[in-house]
Structure formats: structure tokens, C-alpha cells
Amino acid sequence: MNTSDETTLLERFKSRISAGEKIEPKDWMPERYRKQLIRMISQHAHSEVVGMLPEGNWITRAPSLRRKISLLAKVQDEAGHGMYLYSAAETLGVDRRELIEQLLSGQAKYSHIFNYPTLNWADIGVIGWFVDGAAIVNQTMLAKCSYGPYSRANLRICKEENFHKRQGYEIVATMAAGTTEQREMVQDAVNRWWWPSLMMFGPSDNESPNSAELLRWKVKLHSNDELRQRFVDLTVPQAQAVNITLPDSELRYDKKTQHWNFGKINWEEFWNVVKGNGPCNRERMAARQKADNDGAWVREAAVAYTMKQRMNR
């Protein structure tokens, strides 16, 4: 393909984006667009899968049968989200195994939030409320993104995340209205998860290397700071409704802007966790690697069996 062809295609691509059209797998797209999407979608998929671990940690200790069943169903949903997303990434010409190997080798990233431990049962409620809540804010935007398969995957995921968030908040509300110990558990979990949840949206856009390009291509439609603000505005009244204190002394409502102002985020902590030095990075990776190693003979057997069946036909 010569450069003038390429220029025409690029112009057409840009005008489709600005007209709000969806780009589909068979359409022409710039290599950078494809690369950026593969990176984003696979990171998102890995996050769903690694995200099963902190919550999975409480399935066997859930305090009632109803809670046990709903937590297991939730973690199962996250595995489903991982599957939709790996499939969405595969439409861009990579395969799932390749992506999983990037995760296992440490080359690919996943959301930093899943490197924090779940220490008491209230963590399960607070993760649903904060972490699924933050994911909804982000994914509601991504459901409108320019790449068709990713947009549709997010639409589907959002429906379930909303359910997760409600379920989490319900655990929090129940415990907050419960015994003194239960209230203490909730407050402790809120104190530990609040700031890391705010970090989930990523650093300010002027410090986020990919943001401008992603916004131009409508892969993202809002800046990280806008999304973070939306999350804070949604969450503060919910905390007040259950009489739980968010651990930020600078939290103030600004009547003029109609937004909640909040304190400074410790980005040093964020980068430290992203680089692999969070409280549970090693454990999360070790758990994924163990599952993959222990499962190797099973996957080989499935392939061998299918081959034999084919030859016998």
C-alpha cells in the first residue's frame, strides 16, 4: 500500500470516528489504534481474572449461605467478563493464550487495585461498592467507545457490575447498621480501600502518556480526572447515607462547581504498586502461575482427546 492510499484511509477513519461511527474488526484502522486497543482490552481482561483472587479469598468463609452463593456468583461473573474481553481482543488478531502468557510473564499489566489484600468480610462489601462502582464509571464510558466489539463487551459487563455494586453496598449497609464490631469492620475496610479506589482511574491526564491519543480516537470519551470526580460525587452521599466516614479530611462540597473536592492522592504509592511492590503482587502472580501450571496437563489432554476423536471420524 502506498502512502497516498494510507493517507486516504486514515482520513476516512478519522471522519468515521468524528461522525461517531463504530469501527468493526474487518474495517481498516491505524496500527497504533489496533495496538492501543489490544493493550487496553487485554489489561482489562487480565484485571477481571486477577480480580477473582481477592474476593475468591472469602468464598469459603462467607457468613451465610445467601452471601456465599452471591459472592461465588459474583466471582464467576468476573471470569465471564474476562472471557468476553479476551474474545473482544481476539477480534484484533491476537489470541487469548498469547495474552495470558504476557500476563504470566509480568509483561502485561492488570489493575493495581487487585494487589491489595481482603482482610475482613466487610472488604467484600466495600470492594463491590468502591471497586465495582469505579469500574462502572469507567466502563459506562467504554461502552460508548469507538471500537464496536469492545463497546458491546462493556455494555454487557456494565449490567452485571451494577448488580455487583448494589450487592456490595447492601453488605456495607447491613453491617453498618449492625453490631459495634461490624461497624468497625466496615470503617476499617473503607479506610483501606478508599484511596486505592480513587487511583483506579489512573494519574491525571497530563501525566498519563496514552490519554490524548485515546481521547482523539474516542476510545476514551472523558479524562481520568473527570471520571474520578464523577466517582467521588456519586460515592460521598452513599457513604453519608450509611454513616460511614471517608478517610479524607479535605473532603468538602463546593457549591459553585457542585462537586466534592478531595485531598491529594499519593501517586507514589500507586506507581509503587504498579511496579510490582504492592502488598499482594507476588501472591496474585503466583496464584495465576500455579493455576496455569497445574492446569497444563488438563489442557493438553483436552487437545489430545479432540485430535483422537477427529482421526477416528
Binding site: 468463609r61 471470569a79 496464584a287 489430545a304 482427546y305
Partner: protein, 266 residues
């Protein structure tokens, strides 16, 4: 049973429901341990799906057991506030998961049994139980299909998967005998026409299991009661609260939070 007023009838019925409920609770719990750690993502989902079905059945059955008993015990009281010796599940379901072959072989043995049992129980004159069994029949048909497919894949896959499956079957076999034995509890409920006749289940189970094992090229172990091989004897007593040491640890984990704060609502 038309009503639960007769004292002796009530006791056998509660006993029978605990056996049913506890099997499903404990196996559901074991399967849930796989979630996040399975060989492929599809299997995280499938095993969780089966665990959810079993836990749902357990919850409904234990709820009913509490109702029939009439001492105001909920399904959670029964799940979280009984001691190991008060549990009536089979030792089969409380064994640790082992490798994937062990998990699958156990699931296949239990699902074959569960499917046959639910098929009979859905014809019970006791309607609440018949309803639960009808749902359990549909669900266990899927569990059976799923585990059977893996029995064939692992049995006929690679040398390693075949070896692991054969080991799993050998290890598990001694736990299957007592699953097929019904005692005075079931006999009494049959006599009262609360549940239909269960006497064909054992032979149907043996036939169905043998067919799949043969197709999976797995050698069927002897019933060890006859083989007389040391350490390989068939286990018994689960239905009366006699268990392996594993159950206590499983319950310690499962019950820790509920028991630490007995007055709390979650």
C-alpha cells in the same frame, strides 16, 4: 408425608433431609474452592456453576429440614452451627479437591448418584421435596454431562491424564460404596410412602458408572470389601456422623465468621 405431626416420622424425615442437604453443601463448598484456580477460564465458570446449583439445593433442603424439625432453626443455623459429628454428608464429598482428575471423578460419581436419586424423589408424595428434587434432577443432568465429558477427555487424552484419572478412580472407589447403601431412615420413609422406592439406585449407579469408566478406558476397581486389601476397605458410617478428619477443617473455615459473631446479621 401429608403432615409433620407424627414425632417419629418427623425425626426420620429431618434425618433424611440432613443427609441430602449436607452432601450438597459440602460438595458445593469444595467445588467453590476451585473458583479462580481452574485449568481454564471456562472451567472456573463451569465448576462455579455446579457449585452454585449444589449450594442452592443445599439451602432449600436445609431450610426445609429446619421447618420440619420445628425448633426454629434456619438453613444458616444448620450449616454454620453444627459440629462435624452432626453432619450427615458422605465422606466422599468432604475429601480435599486433589488434582483436577480427582475433582472430576468425584463429581462424576456423585452426579450420577444425585441424578438417579432426584429422578426418584421428584415422584415423592411429599410435594415440597418433589419440587426441590425436580429442580435438582435438571441441574444434576448438566453436572453429569459435564463431568462425563471430562471423564472421557482425561481417560482418553494423554498418558499423564489417563494415569491421573485411573489414580483418582482408585482413590475414590472406597468412598462410593456407602453412597449406595440406604438404611432404616430411608426404609421408614418408603414404608410411610413419603418417598418412593430407592432400591434400584445402587445397581443403576453401578451400571452407569461402569459404562462411562469403560468408555474412558479406565479400569473399574473391585469393591474393596471383597478384595480384602489392607488400607483399601470401604468407608462407612458417614450417614451417622462418622467422618474423615478433613470435615472438621472444612467446617472450621466455613463457620469461622458466623460463629465468631453469633448475634450479628450479615
Amino acid at each position: 408425608m401429608k403432615n409433620g405431626s407424627d414425632h417419629g416420622t418427623k425425626n426420620v424425615l429431618v434425618e433424611f433431609l440432613l443427609r441430602l442437604g449436607d452432601d450438597r453443601l459440602i460438595l458445593g463448598h469444595r467445588l467453590s474452592e476451585w473458583c479462580g484456580h481452574a485449568p481454564i477460564l471456562e472451567e472456573d465458570i463451569a465448576l462455579a456453576n455446579i457449585a452454585l446449583d449444589l449450594l442452592g439445593q443445599a439451602s432449600a433442603i436445609l431450610h426445609l429440614a429446619g421447618d420440619v424439625e420445628g425448633k426454629n432453626r434456619t438453613e444458616d443455623d444448620l450449616a454454620y452451627f453444627r459440629e462435624a459429628t452432626q453432619f450427615k454428608n458422605l465422606q466422599l464429598v468432604e475429601q480435599p479437591n486433589g488434582d483436577f482428575a480427582f475433582t472430576i471423578a468425584r463429581l462424576f460419581f456423585f452426579s450420577t448418584f444425585n441424578n438417579l436419586l432426584c429422578d426418584v424423589l421428584q415422584k415423592s408424595s411429599y410435594e415440597t421435596l418433589a419440587g426441590i428434587a425436580a429442580k435438582g434432577f435438571k441441574e444434576s443432568s448438566y453436572h453429569l454431562r459435564h463431568s462425563k465429558e471430562w471423564m472421557l477427555r482425561l481417560g482418553g487424552g494423554t498418558e499423564e491424564s489417563h494415569r491421573r484419572m485411573q489414580n483418582a478412580v482408585n482413590e475414590l472407589w472406597r468412598f462410593t460404596g456407602e453412597m449406595l447403601v440406604f438404611d432404616e431412615v430411608e426404609t421408614e420413609l418408603q414404608r410411610l410412602n413419603t418417598i418412593p422406592d430407592l432400591s434400584t439406585i445402587a445397581s443403576q449407579w453401578s451400571g452407569a458408572a461402569a459404562a462411562v469408566l469403560t468408555e474412558a478406558t479406565i479400569i473399574i476397581p473391585f469393591r474393596q470389601k471383597d478384595s480384602g486389601q489392607a488400607g483399601n476397605h470401604a468407608v462407612s458410617g458417614s450417614r451417622h456422623g462418622f467422618h474423615s478428619e478433613y470435615l472438621g477443617h472444612l467446617l472450621a473455615e466455613m463457620q469461622i465468621l458466623a460463629r465468631s459473631y453469633p448475634d450479628a446479621k450479615w
